[in-house]
């Protein structure tokens, strides 16, 4: 019995290992996971920001926190999963990223843990013991969310710029990283787009849930800002001077995105204008979600098939086929991950439905 099971497993592994697209398949899975995470994160950050704006007497404060708590618990696991996925599937590029973004990584860990601590601590009713900490944490909550958004966008933009690094003979990465190259106009531009979309998305959700007029006005104002920001994306994207991007950048895709993103933003505005109808509000939510997803897809398309482009020597790029893990582990992990991501996605859908109820 055991022998037959073993042979069966071996045949599956052999067939999987013979497939040439296994590393790229794992990269695709990573991308899907990342899109899921960003969807959750944007909702979470936006709701936390809105929560800090709403007064204490407002009856819908609890409902908004209900939204945050549900999504936060799922996002936490998704974040951990994505880190470990990246660690197991592309170990070398993971270590390279650590060398390049060492201070950012420590900051990220700090912000994530403290943010989750704050959110989780509000699950239970506050007694006398925790009143002071609650008031202090209300102020820090918005700050941490902002820091998180800026860090995320800065890492993206830094990758786009083509961070300078090279590998020595023994695969040791020597980084020539400076923080100034990461914080330029482009990074702040992307960061603000992320933040504004987060606010619009969450305010639309809150409007559907609570029916407050205040939420609708916030959503409409932020959507107008989003439109102006997206229309200005051409300027920072043209400021990229990296030779890597000049050679590998898929110009057709960028043109599509230039056309698609403003159209989506326009549609969002129109939907919000006629948002008294319930169908239109749902459509607005859909458009605001898809804006972020297209942004991420754009980044992925720019970087494909490379994870970290080096600007000094183009042969030293760390890519999908250059730095993937052992083929046996990939073959064993990928079926598990497909199942896991499907499960996670259904969970997100259920939660989303519950929120919209």
């Amino acid at each position: 019995m055991q022998a037959t099971i073993n042979t069966f497993l071996n045949t599956i592994i052999n067939t999987l290992t013979n497939l040439p697209f296994l590393p790229s398949c794992s990269a695709l899975l990573l991308l899907i996971g990342f899109i899921m995470l960003t969807f959750g994160l944007t909702l979470e950050i936006g709701t936390t920001l809105l929560h800090s704006w709403i007064e204490d007497n407002n009856p819908h404060r609890k409902t908004i926190f209900g939204i945050i708590n549900k999504i936060a618990s799922l996002n936490q696991i998704l974040l951990l999963l994505l880190i470990i996925m990246f660690m197991t599937m592309f170990p070398q590029s993971c270590s390279a990223l650590v060398y390049l973004f060492y201070p950012f990584m420590t900051l990220l860990a700090f912000t994530f843990t403290i943010r989750t601590l704050i959110i989780k601590s509000k699950n239970i009713k506050l007694g006398k013991f925790n009143e002071m900490t609650h008031k202090i944490m209300q102020w820090t909550l918005t700050d941490t969310a902002l820091v998180l958004v800026f860090v995320m966008s800065a890492t993206f933009a830094g990758l786009l710029n083509g961070l300078p690094f090279y590998l020595d003979n023994h695969n040791k990465i020597i980084s020539l990283f400076d923080i100034e190259s990461c914080f330029n106009i482009q990074t702040f531009h992307i960061a603000t787009i992320f933040l504004v979309t987060a606010i619009t998305q969450s305010s639309i959700v809150c409007y559907i849930k609570t029916g407050l007029v205040k939420m609708k006005t916030i959503a409409s104002v932020s959507s107008i800002i989003l439109l102006t920001l997206i229309s200005l994306t051409i300027i920072p994207l043209h400021m990229i001077k990296s030779p890597f991007l000049c050679t590998y950048f898929p110009t057709q895709f960028i043109i599509i995105c230039y056309i698609l993103l403003p159209i989506q933003a326009m549609a969002l505005n129109i939907c919000l204008f006629f948002a008294n109808n319930k169908k239109m509000t749902y459509l607005a939510l859909l458009f605001s979600c898809s804006i972020i997803k297209i942004f991420i897809l754009l980044f992925a398309m720019i970087l494909f098939p490379h994870f970290i482009p080096s600007s000094i020597d183009q042969s030293q790029h760390l890519g999908i086929f250059n730095s993937f893990s052992d083929i046996n582990t990939l073959a064993t992990i990928i079926p598990w991950l497909v199942a896991f991501l499907a499960l996670a996605y259904t969970c997100i859908l259920i939660m989303h439905k519950k929120i919209l109820k």
């Binding site: 470990i84 660690m87 170990p91 860990a109 843990t113 989750t116 239970i124 064993t332």
Partner: protein, 607 residues
């Protein structure tokens, strides 16, 4: 500032990782215990159910809910503490990811998978616990709740399986291969890793975690008894905790003795000859490293054969780095650390050969752990004696000792863990990879930065966890009212029924839409009385609402906007959510009234 401190990179990153893992392990053990405890309470609830002891049945139901809540808190903190652990793994043990990412990665993924499913089931259990029909005669709902709790209890144990497997693999590597030429490790068989050394280590950990939670449960119930609140629930949970604790103590004792005898057998094999063997292995390993260096530069068959011959001895030679003078190591890479066999002294080889052996468990560890377990046994026996004689409420000294020494089994876990870590010290994976090879090649300044950052995180989490647990305990005092006798309960039920019927009549009155202005006035009064009953606030507020609502109702007939503003003004005084609903209702009514007025006007004009 960081330059002045001058910490060693290796010791700092080791300390950091161990601190964070200590935090995480405590919450995992709570998870396992609380899950089992909640299921036990629910099973007793089901078994006793509709029989004689009605009060006991309800107390058990309350207990199941309470321990489920404690489980959710501990699970949240287990999740939160996992984030810095993984980040520290990525940041400080960078080379570990490059070389053994494909070994440790799948195991951690399995752990996360179990965690994710556990999260879903906890949400389901919360939903079932909240539903009102749960503790009525509807039996299938009860069984469903019990089955969900059972799944949670199993999943909490399954969640620890990959963790224990990882720990066991570090001590006794099975099912992996390490390629020193490319500095890369792979999994040969996943099942061997999972089933490695599982019979003793795994169950020992599970039993210890049961013991810790039973001690904590008894401490919490002792706190309730001392405060003289929730005495029924507290005594019931105390009884279960005592029996559960005694059972888990037997389990830990049995598995612990098995582990100790296993280690004693290993000790007998390691003699003076073993050190001599290690010395020869180190020398062979040096030759292997030399061949490896040549192979990296140029490929020759001779070097290849030499490398394959001494492949298994290379890690022993790598241990030499720990015993070399610090001057030689500054600014060195893998190539320059090992000069030649002639340059290394005999003393260094001797030290390396001794360090390669598994460290003997110090007898003090065994003595301390046995003393702690004996102490917990004594406490449990005293509590059992008092509960059997039904004098637990008067035994304040014993109760106070249980509260003060709730941490004793947790200390047992930490002692066990630290002993294991010391036992394995120079190796990360025994006989395969030394620890120093896996640390990031960064300056100590960076690592001190991350160390202080993660230290702050761990401190904050400890503080938050303590506040959360204390709040949960205090909050539950008010959540469940004390149930004294069945007669009182029936009286309360009757009262509740009468109140609910009153409410229903009031709400039905409110739901019916008034058509005339006089009817609207009465409607407004109804709202005020409804609010008074619902909010349960002081009479002053009720009076003000009565007046203001009455004034508003008069004004609403004249204009729509003014009334809306004033009702919102009351909203700040009374419960806002209920008033918001009432506000919406009044708006609807006003709209209908306006429509009717216009209709009547039109009909008059037509006439």
């Amino acid at each position: 500032m960081f330059e002045l401190l001058h910490f060693d990179c290796m010791s700092l990153s080791q300390l950091q990782f161990r601190l964070l893992s200590c935090l995480h392990i405590a919450f995992i053990s709570f998870n396992i215990g609380f899950g089992a405890f909640a299921t036990l309470m629910q099973t007793i609830n089901l078994l006793i159910g509709s029989k004689v002891k009605k009060n006991n049945h309800e107390f058990c139901a309350q207990g199941a809910k309470f321990w489920l809540k404690m489980l959710t808190i501990s699970h949240q903190f287990a999740l939160i503490t996992l984030i810095p652990i993984i980040f520290s793994l990525v940041i400080n043990w960078n080379q570990l990811i490059v070389s053994t990412g494909s070994i440790f990665g799948p195991l951690i993924l399995c752990m996360l998978f179990a965690m994710f499913i556990l999260e879903i089931f906890i949400i389901l259990a919360k939903y079932l616990a909240k539903s009102t029909n749960l503790y009525s005669n509807f039996l299938s709902r009860k069984i469903m709740f019990l089955s969900v709790l059972l799944i949670i209890a199993v999943l909490t144990i399954l969640y620890t399986l990959p963790l224990v497997a990882m720990h066991a693999m570090m001590h006794h590597p099975v099912g992996i291969e390490f390629d020193f030429l490319n500095n890369y490790g792979t999994i040969v068989s996943f099942t061997k890793i999972l089933s490695n050394n599982i019979s003793n280590m795994f169950w020992h950990n599970v039993f210890i975690s049961y013991l810790t939670t039973s001690m904590i449960a008894s401490a919490i119930s002792a706190y309730y008894i001392l405060k003289q609140k929730q005495i029924g629930m507290a005594i019931n949970s105390m009884k279960i905790a005592i029996f559960f604790g005694l059972f888990s103590l037997c389990g830990t004792y049995w598995t612990g003795i098995n582990l100790y005898t296993q280690q004693e057998q290993e000790k007998n094999t390691t003699t003076h000859e073993q050190i001599n063997k290690n010395k020869t292995r180190i020398k062979n390993g040096m030759l292997g490293i030399k061949a490896m260096r040549n192979l990296r530069k140029e490929y020759t068959q001779e070097d290849k054969n030499l490398f394959l011959m001494h492949k298994e001895d290379i890690p022993y030679a790598l241990l030499l780095r720990n015993f070399q003078p610090a001057e030689r190591l500054i600014g060195t890479t893998f190539e320059t650390v090992f000069p030649t066999l002639e340059e290394i002294s005999q003393k260094e080889i001797n030290n390396a050969a001794r360090s390669a052996l598994k460290h003997k468990i110090h007898i003090t560890q065994f003595v301390i752990s046995s003393i702690i377990s004996a102490f917990t046994l004594l406490i449990f026996l005293l509590l059992l004696y008092k509960t059997l004689r039904k004098k637990i409420v008067d035994a304040k000294l014993i109760l106070k000792t249980t509260i003060t020494f709730f941490w004793a089994p947790i200390a047992l876990i930490y002692i066990n863990m630290m002993a294991k870590e010391i036992q394995r010290f120079p190796w990360l994976i025994y006989n395969i990879i030394p620890e120093y090879m896996m640390i990031t090649k960064l300056n100590s300044q960076f690592i001190t930065l991350s160390f202080f950052c993660f230290f702050a995180i761990s401190l904050i989490t400890i503080l938050f966890a303590i506040t959360q647990f204390i709040e949960c305990i205090n909050y539950n005092l008010f959540l469940y009212p004390t149930i004294e006798t069945r007669a009182d309960k029936t009286k309360q039920k009757e009262k509740n029924y009468a109140q609910s019927s009153n409410k229903n009549t009031q709400t039905s009155k409110m739901q019916s839409t008034p058509t005339t202005p006089s009817a609207l006035e009465s409607f407004a009064k109804n709202i005020a009385s409804y609010l008074r009953n619902e909010s349960g606030k002081e009479e002053k507020i009720a009076k003000t609402t009565d007046k203001t609502v009455a004034i508003n109702s008069k004004k609403t007939i004249d204009s729509k906007n003014q009334s809306a503003k004033k009702t919102s003004a009351i909203g700040k005084k009374v419960d806002t959510s209920k008033l918001y609903k009432a506000q919406l209702k009044t708006r609807d009514i006003l709209k209908k009234l306006k429509k009717k007025n216009t209709d009547t006007k039109q009909t008059r004009r037509k006439k």
